[in-house]
C-alpha cells in the first residue's frame, strides 16, 4: 500500500441474497480470505444479484477491491465514526419534510 496511491486486486466471492419473509439479508464473502480495511472499496462484477420474493440466491462472482491509500485509510479511521447515526432506526430518511 502506498501513501498516496491506490491499488486494486480481484477476489472470487460468494454473494448471498435472501428475499424472504423470514429473513431479508445480503452478504458478500471473499473466497480467498481477502479482508477489507477502512476506506477500501468493493465492487461485485456483473448484473445486480436479484432474488425474487420468497427466494434465496447464492452466486459466485468476482469482485474488485480498490485498496485505499495509507493517507485515505488514516483519514477514514479518523472520520468514519461520525457516520454512526445511520445505525439508528429513525435516522435514515434524507427528506426533512415528506
Amino acid at each position: 500500500m502506498g501513501w498516496m496511491t491506490k491499488t486494486t486486486e480481484t477476489a472470487p466471492c460468494e454473494v448471498e441474497v435472501s428475499h424472504k419473509f423470514e429473513s431479508l439479508h445480503a452478504h458478500v464473502k471473499f473466497l480467498n480470505g481477502a479482508t477489507i480495511n477502512p476506506g477500501d472499496e468493493v465492487l461485485v462484477h456483473g448484473a445486480p444479484v436479484m432474488a425474487p420474493y420468497g427466494e434465496v440466491v447464492c452466486e459466485t462472482r468476482t469482485a474488485t477491491i480498490t485498496r485505499a491509500s495509507k493517507i485515505e485509510q488514516i483519514w477514514t479511521r479518523m472520520t468514519g465514526d461520525f457516520e454512526f447515526m445511520e445505525l439508528c432506526e429513525f435516522s435514515f430518511s434524507e427528506e426533512v419534510s415528506l
Binding site: 465492487l43 432474488a51 420474493y53 432506526e89 426533512v96
Partner: protein
C-alpha cells in the same frame, strides 16, 4: 444444527434459516410480473469495518454468569416463529389511506427496514471477522434477529406495493471505519431507544386500539424485546472494561446520548401525519422515549441527560427549525441560507450538549428485564 428446520422463522441461525424446507415450498411471485406495478426502493446500507483485534480481545469473564444466561436465552429464541403473519394481520386498504399518512408511514417502514438490514450487515461482518467465540456467537444471534425483522417489515412494504431492491451489492461500496467503543455506545443506545420507541407505541395503542391503523404495531412488543436483549448484551460488553464508562469516555457517552436523542426528535417531527394518525403528540412521545431510555441506560452509563432542564426543549426546537431551513436551502440551492442554517444547527447542538448532565453511581448488577 443438522436437522433441517421446517420453516425458516423457526430456525436458530441464519444458516439454518437458509436451508429450511420452506424455500422449496415458498410461493415465488415472478419478479418481472410485479416489477412494473411495484415502486422500487433501493436499500442503501452502509458498510463498516472496525478493529477486529480489539473485539477479539474482549474477555467476558467478569460478567460470565450474566453473559451465559443472556446468550442461552437468545439461543432458546423465545420469539422463534413469532414473525409470521396470522389471523391478527388485518387487511389494509392502502389505496384508501390518506396520501400524506401513506407517504410518512412508508418512509417509517423503509427507514426501519434499512436500519435492521444495516444492523444485520454489521453484526454479520463482526461475526465473520472475529475469532472470540463469545463475541461471534452474540453477533450471529443478533444478525439472525435483525434479518428476521427486516424480512417482516419488507413483507408489510410489499403489501403497500413497495419492492425493496437489494441490488446495491453490485454497486461500488466504500467501507467506513467505526471504533469498537463507538459501536458499543451507538448500538447500545440504538437498541435501547428502539425498545423504548416500540413499547411506547405498543402500550399507547393497547389503550387506544382505534388508532392502530396497521397490524404491524401488534408485533411491536416481541419485536422490541429482541431489541432489549441486544442492548443487554452491549451493556455487559461495556461492563467488562470499566474504562469504557469512565474518564474522558463519559464525554463521548454524553455526545452519543445527545446526538441520538436530538436526531430522533428531528426525524419524528418530519412525520406529523404519522403521529397524528397514531393519536400521539410528537413532543410527548419524544419526552416519554427519552425518559424510558434514560432510566434504562442508568444500568451502564454513569450519566443521564437532564431532559427536564429548561434549555433542553428550547434547544430541540432550535435544532428542528434549523434543520427545516437547511433542507429548504439544499433543495433550492441557497448557499448563504445553507451556511446560516448549518451554523444554527451546530450551535443548537452545542447548546444541548453543554446542559449539565446528571451523574449517578452504577448498580452492581447490570442486567435488566423489559418492564415497560
Amino acid at each position: 444444527m443438522n436437522v433441517q428446520a421446517k420453516h425458516s422463522a423457526d430456525a436458530d441461525t441464519v444458516e439454518d434459516a437458509l436451508s429450511a424446507r420452506n424455500y422449496e415450498e415458498a410461493v415465488v411471485d415472478s419478479e418481472s410480473a410485479t416489477a412494473l406495478a411495484m415502486q422500487n426502493t433501493l436499500l442503501t446500507p452502509r458498510f463498516y469495518t472496525t478493529d477486529f483485534d480489539k473485539l477479539d480481545a474482549i474477555d467476558v469473564s467478569p460478567v460470565r454468569a450474566d453473559w451465559d444466561q443472556l446468550i442461552d436465552q437468545m439461543k432458546s429464541d423465545p420469539n422463534k416463529g413469532h414473525f409470521k403473519k396470522n389471523e391478527d394481520w388485518d387487511h389494509i386498504d392502502w389505496d384508501g389511506m390518506e396520501p400524506k399518512l401513506k407517504k410518512e408511514f412508508i418512509d417509517f417502514l423503509v427507514s426501519s427496514c434499512t436500519a435492521e438490514f444495516s444492523g444485520c450487515v454489521l453484526y454479520k461482518e463482526m461475526k465473520r471477522r472475529g475469532s472470540n467465540e463469545d463475541i461471534t456467537t452474540l453477533f450471529q444471534l443478533m444478525a439472525r434477529d435483525e434479518a428476521r425483522h427486516a424480512g417482516f417489515i419488507n413483507d408489510a412494504l410489499r403489501e403497500a406495493g413497495i419492492a425493496v431492491n437489494l441490488g446495491f451489492l453490485t454497486q461500488a461500496k466504500k467501507y467506513t471505519y467505526f471504533q469498537p467503543k463507538f459501536i458499543y455506545y451507538a448500538t447500545y443506545l440504538s437498541e435501547k431507544i428502539g425498545y423504548a420507541r416500540y413499547i411506547t407505541i405498543y402500550r399507547h395503542l393497547e389503550a387506544h386500539p382505534e388508532h392502530r391503523f396497521h397490524p404491524i404495531f401488534k408485533w411491536f412488543k416481541e419485536w422490541c424485546n429482541d431489541e432489549f436483549s441486544h442492548g443487554e448484551a452491549f451493556a455487559l460488553l461495556m461492563k467488562t472494561d470499566p474504562k469504557l464508562t469512565s474518564g474522558m469516555n463519559v464525554l463521548w457517552i454524553k455526545f452519543f446520548l445527545t446526538a441520538v436523542f436530538a436526531t430522533m426528535y428531528v426525524r419524528d417531527h418530519q412525520r406529523p401525519a404519522f403521529h397524528e394518525a397514531l393519536g400521539v403528540d410528537t413532543d410527548w412521545y419524544g419526552h416519554e422515549v427519552f425518559r424510558k431510555t434514560s432510566d434504562i441506560s442508568k444500568q451502564i452509563f454513569p450519566i443521564t441527560l437532564d431532559i427536564d432542564h429548561p434549555r433542553w426543549q428550547k434547544g430541540l426546537n432550535a435544532l428542528q427549525a434549523a434543520n427545516v431551513d437547511l433542507a429548504d436551502a439544499k433543495a433550492h440551492g441557497k448557499v448563504f441560507k445553507r451556511i446560516g442554517a448549518s451554523i444554527r444547527a451546530g450551535l443548537a447542538f452545542v447548546n444541548l450538549y453543554t446542559i449539565p448532565a446528571k451523574s449517578h453511581a452504577l448498580p452492581a448488577s447490570t442486567r435488566l428485564e423489559p418492564v415497560y
